[in-house]
């Protein structure tokens, strides 16, 4: 028999890096991965220190630390998560975290990384690796990290690396006997002020306010920053739609429901009156909580009454947030425009804290116990939509919060078995009480939504008719099928005929909308030409005059070449103005601009500004485009963006001319950024007269069609912009208090998620 060779598989080091980089898309993700690791390790403090002087970042916590075996078995084993092989640590804590990608966050941030870590049982351990080796060395198994012990305490280890006195004050505030510290040197990206502010802002939304008591995050971004400034505090207002705070005391459950979901956009009085809302409702919409009390002993079945008295007092905060919203729903039900939540967020779920210690695995992402209250099965049993009959229920992914219990709650047995079921009476009551609090939230929200829905139907009866007709047609078809008729198919009922008519009308409307889009672009070309009509008509006569002079000079053989040159130059200017006007009007209609595709918005804006520069210079108007650092992409029609800008610039030009704006105020500013909720925000302003007269009081009016403040204005410019924004699920925001004209246009991808 032939000898059998055994050849091992190889993984190139580079592959590991690529996989890692794919899993961590940007700097913010890298940072949050590391923060999650700290939280996972039961830290109550996590400090990120950006050392701008030495260009390095330190991240340290006071979690449980890692032993040498942990490092060898898990930290150095790419792709393995502790959770898969060892769900319970020695102390019974259950680790979470998936795919073991946390350490790739380090690669994203810097070229070199040193880790020091201290557990309760072992000495301080130091771990060093040069990530660059992963680029040069072939096999990943040939890449080594250095591991060494020393006798220092963890605090001494920290003090060796961090010298900033402000940062070190953390050690006085929290217990740093054990923990893990990462020192990342030679940063891969420049940590600009802008980037830092953005990250900081995103971090304020990472940790739910309920958890802030138990997990403090500090972000030092300069050598002068002190602890108070570094502490990331949550801006609660933007992070929930509904909140219920409850207290269980002596068998009485007190709930406070806060409505934070609605923005009536100037129609508050109308909605309150026509929507049949009470005086109390007005207060609730203005931030007052709806307070109710419930005697639990009277609510539960007999055999649980005793348990309800035994479980002791406890409290909690629960937050509800929609995962996404459609613009139509938003208009109908007056939703605020909020940023959407990230799914599978380690800080999500309903967590349980006993005496400020997290009790796992309640609310842990990617575990059976994430939905320990069984909210999803509850939802499946009653899946009604909120505006229909039948009670609406929340889904687990929409909820997050914290429940606080203490040692006094002896009756609550909080360790879950493998299957996550607890079968004591006390735990049953405990769950029921929390569900009751959630029910208060659900009932209030449904009540409000139903009223808003009725109001909408009152305002838009036609839509309701259309829906009804479609329903009737569907039922009729179903009935026919059931009766198994061999009726003549051409013999349609009135309902069927109506449906066909509606479908035909819809098709006609779609075609009109397409036409409309093209006409809009043509209209803008016309609008600009209208503003420029005087200049454009003069191009012709200017050139004629110049030619006349040239003829005279040349025919006389007048050796005044300087003068001839002068005339030729001024002719060139005329021609260049002419071609600028051409660029700004006719070029907009080029066919490749009429197809929808993903485009770099920065480039488009820059091109538009360039094409206007000559025309604006002639009138001494300056335009400043503040471009964002990173590119912004939007799936759109190029001409829609061009039309928006052309209308705005044309308006500014007219305003400057009509109101004889002095030269130092003939300035236009333009910027474009990507906001947190994924929308593209274009801000445009000028220092001209701004909105005047009635439009100053009521800016929205100027967005209506055929409204103009100019003598020969068309009244279409701003209306066109509003129509475009609406098509892109966006909005137009004016600010009449600005010293000049200010407009912000928000645009989103044309597709929208369904809830």
């Amino acid at each position: 028999m032939d000898r059998v060779k055994e050849i091992p598989f190889n993984v190139s080091a580079r592959m590991a890096v690529l996989i890692g980089r794919e899993n961590i898309p940007n700097l913010y993700s890298a940072i949050t991965e590391l923060i999650k690791n700290s939280y996972d390790a039961d830290a109550d403090a996590c400090v990120i220190y950006y050392d701008d002087v030495n260009d390095k970042v330190c991240l340290f916590d006071n979690g449980s630390g890692m032993t040498e075996q942990d490092i060898i078995d898990y930290w150095m084993n790419l792709g393995i998560s502790m959770k898969l092989t060892k769900p319970n640590s020695k102390k019974g804590r259950i680790r979470t975290g998936s795919k073991g990608v946390g350490r790739f966050a380090l690669d994203k941030i810097a070229e070199n990384c040193t880790m020091i870590t201290k557990t309760e049982s072992d000495n301080l351990l130091k771990w060093d690796v040069e990530w660059e080796k992963l680029n040069t060395i072939e096999k990943i198994s040939d890449v080594y990290a250095k591991l060494s012990y020393n006798n220092h305490s963890y605090i001494e280890g920290i003090q060796n690396i961090v010298h900033n006195k402000n940062v070190l004050k953390i050690i006085e505030k929290h217990n740093f006997e054990i923990g893990t510290m990462l020192e990342m040197r030679v940063l891969r990206e420049k940590w600009t002020q802008r980037k830092i502010s953005k990250i900081r802002k995103q971090l304020t939304q990472l940790i739910p306010s309920g958890l802030c008591k138990n997990f403090k995050l500090y972000f030092f971004t300069s050598s002068e920053m002190n602890i108070e400034e570094a502490l990331i505090s949550v801006v609660e207002e933007n992070t929930y739609d509904y909140k219920v705070i409850f207290d269980y005391n002596d068998s009485i459950l007190t709930t406070k429901v806060f409505r934070n979901e609605f923005d009536f956009r100037g129609e508050f009085e109308y909605v309150m009156k026509e929507g049949n809302f009470s005086q109390e409702d007005r207060n609730y919409f203005n931030g007052e909580p709806k307070i109710e009390k419930l005697n639990i002993s009277e609510e539960v079945v007999k055999h649980l009454v005793e348990a309800s008295k035994k479980i002791g007092d406890f409290s909690g905060e629960l937050y509800f947030r929609k995962l996404s919203q459609q613009s139509k729903e938003r208009e109908k039900l007056y939703y605020k425009y909020n940023t959407s939540i990230r799914k599978s967020n380690i800080f999500g779920g309903i967590k349980l804290y006993r005496d400020n210690f997290r009790v796992r695995p309640f609310g842990e992402v990617d575990t059976k116990s994430y939905d320990w209250l069984n909210l999803n099965s509850r939802k499946n049993a009653s899946p009604s939509s909120i505006t229909h009959t039948g009670s609406w229920k929340v889904r687990a992914e929409q909820m997050q919060g914290t429940i606080h219990i203490s040692k006094k709650n002896k009756g609550i047995n909080d360790t879950l078995s493998r299957d996550g079921i607890v079968d004591t009476h006390e735990f049953s009551v405990f769950e029921k009480i929390i569900i009751k609090a959630i029910v208060k939230l659900e009932e209030d929200r449904q009540d409000v939504m139903r009223k808003l829905n009725l109001l909408y139907q009152k305002k838009h009866p036609v839509e309701v008719f259309e829906k009804e007709i479609k329903e009737m047609a569907k039922n009729e078809r179903n009935n026919e099928k059931r009766q198994d008729n061999n009726q003549n198919f051409n013999d349609s009922s009135t309902i069927q005929k109506t449906i066909k008519l509606i479908e035909h009308k819809n098709e006609v409307i779609d075609n009109l909308e397409d036409e409309n889009r093209i006409l809009r672009t043509l209209a803008t070309s016309g609008i600009i030409t209208n503003s420029y009509s005087h200049e454009i008509s003069s191009f012709n006569s200017l050139l004629s005059r110049k030619l006349n002079v040239l003829k005279i000079k040349i025919s006389k053989d007048d050796k005044n070449y300087r003068r001839i040159n002068e005339v030729l130059n001024s002719m060139e200017d005329v021609l260049s103005n002419y071609s600028s006007w051409f660029d700004v009007t006719i070029q907009t209609l080029e066919s490749n601009k009429r197809i929808i595709k993903e485009l770099n918005v920065n480039n488009i804006i820059r091109n538009v500004v360039e094409s206007w520069k000559t025309l604006l210079e002639v009138r001494n108007i300056s335009i400043n485009y503040n471009e964002s650092e990173s590119p912004i992409y939007l799936e759109c029609f190029e001409y829609d963006l061009v039309v928006i800008l052309n209308n705005l610039i044309s308006n500014s030009m007219d305003a400057f001319r009509i109101h004889k704006t002095p030269k130092n105020k003939k300035k236009i500013s333009l910027s474009c950024i990507l906001v947190d909720d994924g929308r593209v925000s274009i801000e445009y302003s000028d220092l001209g007269p701004g909105l005047i007269g009635e439009f100053k009081e009521n800016p929205q009016k100027v967005l209506e069609p055929l409204i103009s403040s100019k003598d020969n204005g068309t009244g279409l410019g701003l209306w066109i912009i509003k129509k475009i924004a609406t098509e892109y699920n966006g909005e137009v925001i004016l600010n009449s208090k600005y010293e000049g004209f200010y407009i912000k246009i928000l645009l989103k991808q044309k597709d929208d998620n369904n809830e």
């Binding site: 008509s537 004629s544 006349n548 002079v549 001024s570």
Partner: protein, 203 residues
């Protein structure tokens, strides 16, 4: 026949250079008035007299970048202080000029139209207008000389007319500066002396 002298008042420096070339080529002595924010009507008057300008073309929109007044007001000033001197508005903003209450529409010429047609027909109009102006001045001079010779015997109306003609001709430097007393007739002289005596007596 001496050279026709025309004047142009316009704040478009580039344009005035072009027009100077064009009209000089046609044989006109062309003067450009340097208008700026400090200019006053009196400056225009001095410029007309110094250069012996016989026809003026004024742009309408001057207050845009420079002067305190627009071309229509200048036209008005010239008409009041320079009797019969031909003056027109030459502008590219005809519609706006027509809104002015200071000038009738037939004084407004479109620059754009003229530029396109190489200003040719304008040339003959200008020449004719200046011819008319010169003819009028000749007629005044004839009448003035006649009345001046018999000034002692002029009736009051004729004395008035003599003084009037004197003023016109004086504006254009056609006659020397003399005291208007000198133009009075004996009869009117005697009447004024009588008036003086009566005034003294009544006091």
């Amino acid at each position: 026949m001496s050279n026709y002298v025309i004047g142009i008042i316009d704040d478009d420096v580039d344009g005035t250079k072009d027009y100077k070339d064009i009209y000089e080529d046609k044989g006109f002595e062309t003067h450009i008035f340097d208008i700026d924010e400090d200019s006053i009507y009196h400056d225009v008057g001095n410029w007309i007299i110094e250069n012996k300008i016989e026809l003026i073309m004024v742009d309408y929109l001057l207050s845009n970048a420079s002067a305190k007044f627009n071309g229509d007001k200048i036209l008005n000033y010239v008409k009041q202080n320079f009797y019969q001197l031909p003056v027109i508005i030459l502008t590219s903003r005809v519609k706006e000029a027509e809104k002015s209450n200071y000038i009738e529409h037939w004084f407004i010429q479109s620059k754009d139209e003229l530029d396109k047609k190489e200003n040719n027909y304008m040339v003959s109009e200008i020449k004719h207008a200046i011819d008319v102006f010169r003819f009028k001045k000749e007629k005044w001079m004839e009448e003035y000389k006649k009345l001046f010779e018999k000034k002692e015997k002029n009736n009051p109306d004729e004395t008035e007319r003599l003084k009037e003609l004197y003023r016109y001709l004086r504006t254009y430097g056609e006659v020397d500066d003399i005291s208007t007393e000198y133009l009075n007739s004996d009869l009117s002289q005697k009447i004024s002396e009588f008036n003086d005596i009566m005034k003294k007596l009544l006091k």
